[in-house]
């Protein structure tokens, strides 16, 4: 996918590199600013002009995060992981059923999954609220995991289907000749082959659950265990002057995104482009 510059070309393209660095810097300026503010002393926050660089960095923002937001980080982690498990457990076998087992009505199912992704989360949130309020599931981690998973499950099924449709039938037939039933074939052949798809699905399921604000702010706003996105929001609501603490929380909340970008960038790109573009 990526064209690597040939050694001879670099001399002629240095201006492009410079321009690229400039564009990237402009694009990432808000991210830098978040980082900068997170290290600014409260007394300097309202300085005019603002400090472009945290010359006298302070960790007071981060201390506030450690003191107040650790449970929220834990909740977000729990919700994210729960969402990953739920999504993979539901999506992987369904993808197998559609791609390899010729599920009757799979065309309709595919269509429904596409439609499902177009439904605004705010509408789902109201529906879930109406259901949860009577079941007593408001403000529960389990309820939030289920709600968050609705973002990822249709995506997961479609991604698995796309990949599993490409598994050579010979492989699966060979397994069957060895006496494996559909379940054994799924577990011992299909799943291992689909490892990259699983990683992509898991990664997005986690990231979306971690980033979710709408479901958290509607279904879990009064819980003992609120996720980190709500932690940031409550900061904003309660105390708009402690922007260093807000931005420090924001930086901490961005860590998973950063890790994923470094560790799993090709899965991210794969997830973004999967299916949206056809070669």
């Amino acid at each position: 996918m990526n064209r690597r510059p040939t050694p001879g070309a670099s001399g002629r393209t240095w201006w492009k590199t410079a321009l690229g660095v400039f564009f990237t810097a402009v694009m990432l300026f808000p991210v830098y600013w978040m980082f900068n503010v997170s290290l600014t002393r409260t007394s300097d926050l309202r300085a005019d002009p603002p400090h472009w660089f945290p010359w006298a960095p302070t960790t007071e923002g981060y201390q506030a995060v450690l003191a107040q937001q650790l449970p929220a980080l834990g909740t977000s982690l729990l919700v994210g992981l729960g969402c990953v498990v739920l999504t993979v457990v539901i999506a992987a076998p369904a993808g197998y059923a559609v791609a390899q087992l010729r599920l009757p009505g799979r065309g309709t199912l595919n269509f429904l999954l596409l439609v499902a992704q177009m439904i605004p989360a705010v509408v789902m949130a109201m529906g879930f609220y109406a259901v949860y309020v009577r079941l007593g599931l408001l403000n529960s981690v389990g309820g939030l995991i289920v709600a968050d998973s609705t973002i990822a499950v249709p995506f997961g099924v479609l991604l698995y289907t796309a990949f599993m449709a490409g598994i050579p039938r010979e492989l699966l037939q060979a397994a069957r000749v060895d006496g494996a039933n559909a379940w054994r074939t799924f577990v011992s052949v299909v799943l291992p082959l689909s490892r990259n798809s699983t990683l992509t699905v898991a990664l997005f399921a986690f990231l979306w659950a971690w980033s979710d604000f709408i479901f958290a702010s509607t279904l879990d706003r009064n819980g003992d265990l609120v996720p980190i996105t709500l932690g940031i929001y409550q900061y904003i609501g309660n105390n708009t002057t402690q922007w260093n603490a807000i931005m420090a929380t924001a930086v901490v909340a961005s860590v998973p995104a950063a890790v994923l970008l470094v560790v799993a960038q090709r899965f991210v790109t794969a997830g973004v482009t999967a299916g949206a573009v056809k070669d």
Binding site: R3, A9, M27, D48, A94, L103, Q117, A130, V133, I236
Partner: protein, 308 residues
């Protein structure tokens, strides 16, 4: 994030029914899931919109059936026109600029240069950050009295702009932030669309003496049209749904000046401490209809591309 896939290839059916049951077994969790966690909440949402749910009725479950009265109310409301206009402006401006900037960057990165892969990866950051993180960062950057943006503009003699609190600029401010958020997505998709244009087409054009500008308009843009259509439609469907960014930055205010349909729905249901679920659900259902119209358009384009 919407994903579009080719329908699975049809194969001649053998021993259809036994296989069918096995397939159903594997798909069962998904089917149960869809019924419980999609169909049922959506049904509840329709149910909310045709009853008069006060907070008391909500908990006690004895709301009065009012038919389409709530829909009539929202259509007659002043906010409806404002929200619809704002939704249109916010959505169109967002996707146009996201697309134009994303495409320009994709073309820029296409040629490949030292560090281009790394820089392109860095461009993904805004897309990966939790929306609330980006939105609160923008809110602080655009703050009237302490924001870096006003400070920067002030250096050029621009007087203080009340980005988030003035009715003239609030919608502009949230649109700028949303454009920023959408550029990575456009860049990634358009960039991989560019990869599928064979390099020799350009070489041939180059030999014919076509400059970069001509090459773009006569090769890149036409060949990229299918990908562009899908990118724009996905962007549109996504932008229609946006709540987090606007809510955190302006809560749809001041007044209704940055209220979109999604924000209106959110505010009625959850934003005031005095939940009005019935009109909120009605607005939400209108939003679903709009999203589905463009969704079907998307599927249509997709299908046509597959056929060709």
């Amino acid at each position: 994030m919407v994903l579009a896939l080719p329908a699975p290839r049809r194969r001649p059916s053998t021993r259809g029914s036994a296989r069918g049951w096995t397939a159903a077994g594997f798909a069962a969790p998904l089917l149960v899931y869809l019924v419980l966690f999609y169909a049922y909440p959506l049904w509840r949402n329709v149910d909310l919109s045709v009853h008069d749910y006060t907070i008391r009725a909500f908990v006690q479950g004895n709301a009065e059936f009012v038919g389409l009265e709530k829909y009539a109310e929202i259509f007659a409301s002043d906010t409806f026109t404002t929200a619809l206009t704002n939704t249109a402006i916010f959505t169109l401006a967002s996707i146009l600029f996201q697309y134009a900037i994303g495409l320009a960057l994709a073309v820029f990165f296409r040629s490949g240069f030292r560090l281009s892969t790394l820089l392109r990866a860095m461009f993904l950051v805004p897309w990966l950050l939790p929306l609330i993180v980006s939105a609160s960062t923008w809110a602080w950057m655009l703050s009237s009295e302490n924001g870096i943006v006003n400070s920067f503009l002030g250096a050029f003699g621009v007087p203080q702009i009340n980005w988030l609190t003035s009715p003239d600029t609030a919608l502009l401010a949230v649109t700028i932030a949303n454009i920023w958020l959408g550029i990575p997505f456009n860049l990634v998709i358009l960039h991989s669309g560019l990869q599928s244009i064979p390099g020799d087409v350009y070489e041939a054009a180059s030999l014919d003496g076509a400059g970069p500008w001509r090459q773009f308009w006569s090769i890149t843009f036409p060949l990229l049209r299918p990908v562009s259509a899908i990118t724009l439609l996905l962007g549109l469907i996504y932008t229609l749904k946006v709540v987090d960014v606007i809510w955190v930055m302006t809560t749809g205010g001041p007044g209704d000046t940055s209220t979109t349909l999604a924000i209106w729905s959110y505010r009625e249901a959850f934003g005031t401490g005095q939940p009005d679920f019935s009109p909120a659900a009605a607005v939400g259902n209108v939003l679903i209809v709009i999203a589905l119209v463009f969704g079907f358009l998307h599927l249509q384009i997709q299908r046509r591309q597959e056929d060709s």
